[in-house]
Amino acid sequence: MDKKSDALLRRLVKSWANRQSPPDNGRARLLYEVAHLPHNKIDLDLLLFRPQYKSYPTSSPSDWTQTLFTWINENSFQVGLKARLI
């Protein structure tokens, strides 16, 4: 596609997109939601996708339970969750 055709396509798609506007109450809604976020909410995204500790060396296959408990405890501290495993 030549540059002129591409420029026209850009103008068409951009003009369509620019006709849309976000709602006026967006900022108020955002700040309300942020202010009312539960402080003790468990952040699963943070736990599952952004682990502070990525791996643990295991000396034998039977160490996996200890590894799991360690991982939960360390990540619990990270998000301020007090977890106690008995």
Partner: protein, 201 residues
């Protein structure tokens, strides 16, 4: 921490992120005002649904606040916003295709030809609806590239980094998207911009 809103425009994204990390909701508000149109337009161009785009925009900025401590203030914020917006929009479209679309089709069938009513037709000018339909007809992966390229004016390299795909893949998706849009919008382009009609022929 308090921000002088009159001077907010002069404050860089980087400074605002530092303020947000220190707990300033005003900084989040300024960042929202600064980037909300870009985020919303990206979301609506991918989803085609204004309500969903509004909700997704909220979600993007909620995550900005939630993950503020993980954002590097010294790096540009826009790529982060684009990445979050496209990812959330992709997820919304995929979930809708899987679960909600069949239910909506049944609801439309039960309600009659809702989309043929004058009220619905008046919602959107016919020409622009055709543009929307052409964009939404693109496969999701191509649609994201087309939107970032044409709506947001990003370079191939920037799109590659935002979507985490090779530049060659960006090029091929863009090529496919262009051809598809040109096929569907060639005549329409001439109607909307008659002075440029010859460009498409």
């Amino acid at each position: 921490m308090s921000l002088d809103l009159e001077k907010a425009e002069a404050i860089s994204d980087s400074q605002l992120i530092f303020s947000m990390q220190a707990g300033s909701l005003e900084a989040l508000g300024v960042l929202y005002d600064r980037h909300r149109r870009m985020v919303f337009r990206t979301a609506i161009a991918i989803t085609g649904d204004s309500e969903a785009a509004a909700d997704l925009s909220q979600d993007v900025f909620l995550r900005l606040h939630r993950f503020a401590d993980h954002i590097d203030p010294l790096r540009p914020l826009e790529p982060w916003l684009y990445r979050m917006t496209t990812n959330l929009s992709y997820t919304w479209v995929e979930r809708r295709q899987r679960w909600l679309r069949p239910l909506e089709d049944v609801a439309d069938w039960l309600a009659g030809a809702r989309k043929d009513t004058p009220a619905y037709q008046a919602e959107m000018d016919d020409s622009w609806r055709q543009v929307q339909q052409a964009v939404l007809a693109l496969p999701l992966s191509h649609r994201g590239v087309v939107v970032l390229y044409y709506v947001n004016d990003l370079s191939l390299l920037e799109i590659s980094e935002i979507l985490d795909i090779p530049v060659g893949t960006v090029k091929s998706r863009l090529h496919y998207g262009r051809q598809a849009l040109k096929r569907r919008l060639g005549l329409l382009a001439g109607e909307i911009f008659p002075e440029l009609q010859y460009e498409f022929t």
